[in-house]
Amino acid sequence: MILNNNILNIEDLVIRYVTEDGIVEAVNGVNIKIEKGKTLGLVGETGAGKTTTALSILKLIPDPPGEVVKGNILLDNIDIMKANESKMEKIRGEVVSMIFQDPMTALNPVITVGDQIAEAIFIHQKVTKKEANNKAKEMLEMVGIPGNRLNEYPHQFSGGMKQRVVIAIALSCSPKLLIADEPTTALDVTIQAQVLELMRELKKKFQMSMLMITHDLGVVVEVCDDVAIMYAGRIIEQGTLEDIFRSTKHPYTEGLFNSIPNIEDRKAKLKPIRGLMSDPYDLPKGCAFCDRCDYQMEICKTKKPEKVYFSDTHFVECHLYNENKDFKLNNGRK
């Protein structure tokens, strides 16, 4: 293990859900590294396994249906796999904390906003209730909410305000890693921008690294340093912002870009990716994307693609580059 300054290191993670109707392979072999202070964007369609991966970092996968088959997670050099529940309780909120998608339901309706923030502080920092409350007031003001609203209840706040409270809770103990699971999806655009701006400021202020889960490439550009594209439970392409946006390698990533309307070129026809996500109950043997891929080859159907590295930050899992590394994608034309 090199002396890495990675805050998070996930190796070969496999998670599946055992339900009455069969087994769902949500995550099959994911590798993620996040350097301290950096932000990694995790992009993918819904059902690609993004949230499952995030929850596994906090060991919050509900165990009756969910099952972590193999793989290990190193969070700030702590082996999550071996950490028992009480150790995890110390980590959650202190070392890592998470923001959930829908602010409307993310707050406990019957407890005041102030208490919900103070609770985290009280657990992790040996402070009296009074001090915790003061700190909570500070946090509220830091996320742009007037401190005197401390004792109000969640239903008295708008969607955007609630998300700010959630952020205040997450950052109340200045965690080393913040996981944000589609934090702005439920918000309308103007509020979205404000929240993203707030997150960027706080990131700089707390020197905190972040895992931003989203399916919106616009958000990725705004906030992330590196990007990982996830499809059917695997990371199929990862690289810096430059690598992914400038030299897209994987056909699926190219498809994602093609489905974004281009402000400049109004007339350009959108070219959505045809077909649907493959059925998680029985994933294809070969590359999961193969029957939707315009560059489909025989090998894709039978063999799972290996990782092809273009630089130490940029890799892709696709048979196109097995022999000829500088193959150029051209919008689906072979």
Partner: protein, 298 residues
Amino acid sequence: MLIPVMLGVTFLVYFIISLTPGDAAAMILGNGATEESIKELREEMGFNDPTIVQYANYMKDLLTGDMGTSYSTGKSVAGEIGQRFPNTFKLTFSAIFIAILISIPIGVISATKQYSIFDNAGMIFALIGISMPSFWTGLMLIIAFSLNLGWFPSSGMDGIRSLILPAFTLAIASTASITRTTRSSMLEVVRQDYINTAKAKGVSKKDVIRKHALRNALIPAVTVIGLEFGILLGGAVLTETVFSWPGIGRLMVESIQRKDTPMVLGCVIVFAVAFSVVNLIVDILYAYIDPRIKANYN
């Protein structure tokens, strides 16, 4: 909101009771009364007026706390009920107390340890509990604990020991249904997002349940407890008959056998008032637990 419902209840019950056959005046005078004295009394008591007028007079008296006099004992109905109601009150409240004490923990635990042995046993107990008629359960408890083990007296009311069996008999059915509600509402709450937020904060498993989940799960449970109290009052009539508990439940059944209509009327009204008052308290409790409701009150 309570007043119009109470008015409605008294009218409905008075109307039903007025259908009872039999001549009230003859009942009061007892036997050996001459025809004229019966006619005279009918006039005086206004039995010949239409039911509506009689109802109005009854309500006038009711407001001053006078529920008329009992046909059989000649004593004031309000006095008799006043003497007996505390016993029913003691019985029903200890029953609901036992029910809550047992059902909330079982409901919570069987929800958190879903599909475990405990959960299955809890649910079976709840299902069987609901299907057991209170009077039969009472007899079984008497056989087991009073006749054979001799731990508790099998009837009458003197001291705490004689309260235990009737209160448990009455409590079993309510315990069952409150357990089921608590469990399903807990299952509902545990899946909510704010539970994940709490966990992500590093809140311990125990505190997540106790501080976050329970308070939210209690909201539907409180409404059920309100409704359950109504069923309890009904059950009290039967349990009091089995245990010869001198409450207004038994008084009501005896009064029916005595054709003592004012007493029956008084008992039903007191039952209805008690039920409505409890529901009012539940609504207030409801607002106290759930701030969203409190918000639109003030």
